[in-house]
Every structure is written in structure tokens, then in C-alpha cells.
Amino acid sequence: MDNKNNQWRKDFPILDQVVNDEQLVYLDNAATTQKPQQIIDDIMAFYQNDNANVHRGVHTLAERSTEQFEEARSKIQQFINAKHSDEIIYTKGTTDSLNIIARSYGEQNIQAGDEIVISYLEHHSNLIPWQQLALKKHATLKYIDLDEDGFVDLNDAKKKITDKTKIVSIAHVSNVLGVINPIKQLAKLAHQHGAVMVVDGAQSVPYMPVDVQDLDCDFLAFSGHKMLGPTGLGILYGKEDLLNSMPPVDYGGEMISFVHLFDTTWNDLPWKFEAGTPNIAGAIALGHAVDYLNSIGMDKILDYENQLVDYVLPKLQAIDDLIIYGPRDPQKHTSVISFNLKGLHPHDLATGLDMEGVAVRAGHHCAQPLMEYLGIKATARASFYFYNTKEDADTLVNSIVATKEFFQNGTI
């Protein structure tokens, strides 16, 4: 876990830089991860050698780009163990994917009096689409409670999910509390009541093995940029029969079969949901990111991050006046760790850490209802990835202590 033995760190040249006269320690991976040099090179190579629009030309470059574009789709399919590659739809990101589900499946299936069930820990992107849908359709939006560690509470889920529930949508891994939610059990509950299970996988797919067939979720949304890929490219997974039954949300090129003056037939999956020229280089790069992650192994990544949490969480817990959110037990805590120094606004804390070279996020983390639920306004948040090390963890701990002393004593 130290710098010397971490063989992946060298692939991320951005980490090797000085900010504010200190070595950079990048701990904002839950916001976006860094990109390995291989993927940066691959993106450049695509534009240098193969760039052409997909699915619309008979020329050689078009064939090459189309092949790579579809090959990436198959890689992503295997990565989450989807049954069919046409269940993988390219989108702009998690937010886009969740909005598509709400606007297509939701618009089609939600009626007045129906229930949509989410939880208190959702990111705004897994909250507002359902809230607005509920408002528009006169449906009821319900929130599942969290247990004392911050997990979505299964007992409360049993009460909130009823025969009126049509959609249950929950984050697999929280971007604030560092919990892994019991998606499999939630999906079972949802299905018992005839509802579909939507999973926000933005934080789980980069972090641990995710198998959509094992989870038996109906939809899964995630973002490429949180798993080594470029921004602007995400995935919507949906079960084939569901996707087939759903109307497209955007109209234009690519998503059609035959266009007549007064009607149009839709293209097959997955293209029905991919109107317009997609983010071709981004999709191909995400395929390469999947290759990179597979070359390490998601089990190993999870294990490595668990070890880092085992190392750093007790050290953070030992700092006086540092409040840490989520489970106290390192075994239950993911590598997303939110905290506050008593009496200090998280922005002041984050500025202090930044002066020490440590990049963390501070704010409400796009989860204002969760902040309200916790009775706080904001937190600081450190999030680790597999290229982070013990040294990074030590720098975080030392910098928090130094910042605390600065503000408590006015000296350093």
C-alpha cells in the first residue's frame, strides 16, 4: 500500500506534481478519477488514426471506428455481466442515464397514486428526476430511512415499498456516507411488489465487482469518468425486455429505422436510445478503462481499498474534534470518507488541506436532503482509489491535524 509498492501509480502522471509547494495528494476520486497514460494515449491514437463517424459509412475508417465503438460496448457488457450487449446504452453519464429512465420508463409507467421509493442518501441526480416525475404524475415520492450506520434500512424498506410502488431507485454505494447498500435484497423486495429496481452505480461500478444478473436489478446507471474514463460518457444498463418496451427520449439520427413524412419506426436496441453522433472516442476509451481495471481485477481493487480504509479510518477516528460520518467499523466503510472538524466550516478545512497539497471535496456533495437528514450543512470528503497509498493517507491525517491546530491556536 505504500508509494514504492504501488505499481499502478506510475501510470497516472498527473499525480506526480507539486501544488502549493507540496506534493499533490489527490483524494477527490469520488468526484472524478484520474486517467492512466495508456488511456490518454489511446484517445490520441484514435483521433490520429481511426476517427470517423460510426454506423454511417462504408469506408474503412468508419468501419474501424464502428468496430471499436461496438467492441467497447461488449467489454462493458462483460464488465457488469449483462446478458446482452444491446442492454448497454451509451449516455452522457449517470445523471443522463437516470433522467432517461425517468423520462422513458417513468413517463410510460407511472400514474396518479403510484409510488416511487428512494432513500435519504441519494445524490440529486437520483432524486430530482423522480421528484419531478412524481409531481407531474401526481404520484407519491417516498424516502427509505437510514440505519444508524447510514445504510439504507431494510426494515424500513419493507414498510415503504408496497403494492402501489412502481419504481425503487437507490444508490449502490453512497457518495457521502461510505456505505454499500443491500441492493440485492432491495431488488427482491421491489420485485415482490411488482416494481422495477433502479440502481445508481456511480460509486459502486468503479469500486467493486458489480454483476447486474446477480443483483437482479432492472436498470443500472454509471459514469465513465469515475472509473478512469473521460468525462461525457456514461452507461445506462437495462434489461432487454424493459428497454424494448420503452419509448425513446431523444429523436434524430441513428435511433431510427425508417423515416417517412408522417411517421417513423425506431431502430433496435441499443441505438434506439442513442440519438445523434455519440461520444465515440469516449466510449472506446471507457472500453480501454475496463481493460485496465480488469488487468488489476475488481476484487483486488476492492481489497486494496479496504486495506487503505482499515489503515486510515482508525487514524482519523483518533483525531480529537473530528466528526466522521457513516459506519465506525472500517470493515463496513468504503473508501469515501466524509468528515468535519468541530467548529470549522468544511470549506476552511478544505482550503487548509489544499495548502498542504491534499485535494478533497467540501460541500453538500449534491445531497442536500441527506445533509438535512444528518442535521448538517456540509462536510469535507476524502475519497481514495487504488493509486492512493498509505503515504497519501498519512498526509491527509497530518494535514487535518495541522489545519485544526492552525484554526484552534492561530499558529502552526
Partner: protein, 143 residues
């Protein structure tokens, strides 16, 4: 240690204002009022102003925010109390110019001039300007 740079941002005066803010609270007889939010961090600032004969005769702020935004609000209230509205508006502009690193006369800003150091911390400029933006809006928001 790079933390020493923090001294440029968090001068003792700033820490004092934040820990013991001046004119903190609400006015029963305000003529102008505004609530401003900083959506990226969830900070909230409520500003109550009493204007009589085009002069700020009383002012108070409440809400929640970081050291910089709280100190800035405290300093702002000190600086504009008993000033004519037109002078206060000029000060809003002076403060904004100062924070953006532009040359400006900061004498009239009193303690608030010390927030000049914030211009080296672009991510925190919004924190420092919130109170002054609120003042500008409040002066244009008669009840």
C-alpha cells in the same frame, strides 16, 4: 510548510471577526432585507438593513457560513453602518474590485480591506463577496 500560506488568508483579524461577529442577529425594524444562498456550499446569509433618509442607520446579519463569509459579513456591517446608501454602493464596488485583484482605493473599507488576500484563493472569492452582494441586493430590496 505550505500551511503557512494560510496566514495570508486567515489573518488574526479575520479569525476574530468570524469567532465574534459584529452586528450578528436580526432587526425588528429593518426597511430592507434579503436572504442570499451560496448553492455550491449551502451557505445562507440573511441581511437586515434599516435605511433612513438614504442612510444606513442599522444593520444585522445572520445565517451560516465559513470563516471567510462570516468574517466578511461582520466587517461589511462595521464598514457600512452610518454611511449613505450611495457611499455603501460605492464600497460594494471597491470591495469587488479589490477581491478580483484590481487596483482600487480600499481605505474606506476599514477592516474589510484585509480580505484582499482572498484574491489569491480563487475558490474562496465567492465566500468573501457573499455579504457585499447581499448588501447590494438588500439596498435594492425595500420591504
Amino acid at each position: 510548510m505550505a500551511l503557512s500560506k494560510l496566514d495570508n488568508l486567515y489573518r488574526q483579524v479575520i479569525l476574530d471577526h468570524s469567532a465574534h461577529p459584529h452586528h450578528h442577529g436580526q432587526l425588528d425594524d429593518s426597511t430592507n432585507q434579503i436572504e442570499l444562498k451560496n448553492p455550491t456550499c449551502g451557505d445562507v446569509l440573511q441581511l437586515d438593513v434599516k435605511v433612513e433618509d438614504n442612510k444606513i442607520t442599522d444593520i444585522a446579519f445572520s445565517g451560516y457560513g465559513c470563516t471567510i463569509s462570516q468574517a466578511s459579513a461582520s466587517m461589511m456591517t462595521d464598514a457600512v453602518l452610518n454611511k449613505d446608501v450611495s457611499v455603501a454602493e460605492d464600497m460594494v464596488e471597491d470591495f469587488s474590485n479589490m477581491i478580483l485583484g484590481e487596483k482600487t482605493d480600499t481605505g474606506i473599507l476599514q477592516d474589510a480591506a484585509i480580505l484582499k488576500g482572498v484574491s489569491q484563493f480563487p475558490a474562496r472569492i465567492k465566500c468573501a463577496t457573499l455579504a457585499w452582494k447581499a448588501l447590494h441586493k438588500a439596498l435594492n430590496n425595500k420591504q
